[in-house]
């Protein structure tokens, strides 16, 4: 039988991979993608418990998480594009200058 603990383990593993991605990779786009992975891990948990307790609140909250993720991705990529235009690089180490 699939209990919520299974789902929690799955989402934890996904969460860990996301955090690793953010920590280890140099390319800022891959870091953004790892953040999406983390948000997805959160969603899996929400829906697992919504299924567990048979009420829709978990799923409603998951929709809001997706909305926020979309907004964050749009603006984040806008910033990356603007940064890339001026500095010709998307390597996170070179993004240390406060004023360009």
């Amino acid at each position: 039988m699939i209990t919520p603990t299974h789902y929690m383990l799955l989402s934890t593993a996904l969460f860990i991979i996301g955090v690793l991605g953010v920590m280890l990779r140099r390319n800022i786009i891959v870091i953004f993608m790892s953040i999406e992975l983390i948000l997805n891990a959160v969603n899996i948990n929400l829906i697992a418990f919504s299924y567990q307790l048979q009420n829709g609140i978990g799923q409603v909250f998951a929709i809001f998480v997706i909305a926020v993720a979309a907004a964050e991705a749009a603006v984040g990529l806008g910033i990356i594009l603007a940064f890339y235009r001026n500095k010709e690089t998307i390597n996170i180490d070179e993004m240390s200058v406060m004023r360009w």
Partner: protein, 170 residues
């Protein structure tokens, strides 16, 4: 019985693609694995009878956000070869250390929380499963109307921000 098989297969896909997203050198391949990961997660939602969420996941995440990523990846590495792991001085052991810490903390929570309340008898044909869309719609427009409007405001702000950032000259 087949629900368990489905769960294990899907979670294997999800974790496998997630690892690939984080580890591949070529950014476009990473984006591709991300799409496959999202589709596997959507399949998992169907397993959890959250049909509306599965479809929204495919529509918004896989069909919208990741296309955005693909566009930026295309525009960005039009000229540069896929980046290589230069600058070894990047001490990766901090990364592993921190993630280990987070892992430990979550393991503790799961340990305590393992006595989860038992699930409903057959969750397949409860009304949340059958009329999933109507239920969520009702919830969204009654109890959660204010967060719904705030979310729409947030999206509007994000749109305006993205346009201003990306536009060459106003």
């Amino acid at each position: 019985m087949n629900q368990a098989i489905a769960f294990y297969v899907l979670s294997a896909f999800i974790l496998g693609f997630a690892v690939l997203v984080v580890s591949t050198r070529n950014t476009v391949h990473a984006v591709l694995y991300l799409v496959l990961n999202f589709l596997a997660v959507a399949a998992l939602y169907v397993l959890l009878t959250a049909q509306f969420l599965a479809v929204i996941q495919v529509l918004v995440y896989a069909g919208g956000i990741v296309v955005l990523y693909l566009f930026v990846v295309m525009l960005v590495n039009l000229k540069r070869p896929p980046e290589d792991h230069s600058a070894p001085q990047r001490h990766s052991w901090i990364g592993f250390g921190l993630s280990g810490l987070v892992l430990l903390e979550l393991a503790v929570i799961i340990g305590y929380g393992s006595i989860a309340p038992p699930g409903p008898a057959n969750a397949q044909n409860t009304d949340l499963a059958m009329y999933n869309v109507e239920k969520i719609g009702m919830l969204l427009y009654t109890d959660y109307l204010i967060p719904f409007e705030v979310a729409s405001m947030l999206l509007l702000v994000a749109m305006v921000g993205a346009i201003i950032l990306a536009k060459r000259e106003l």
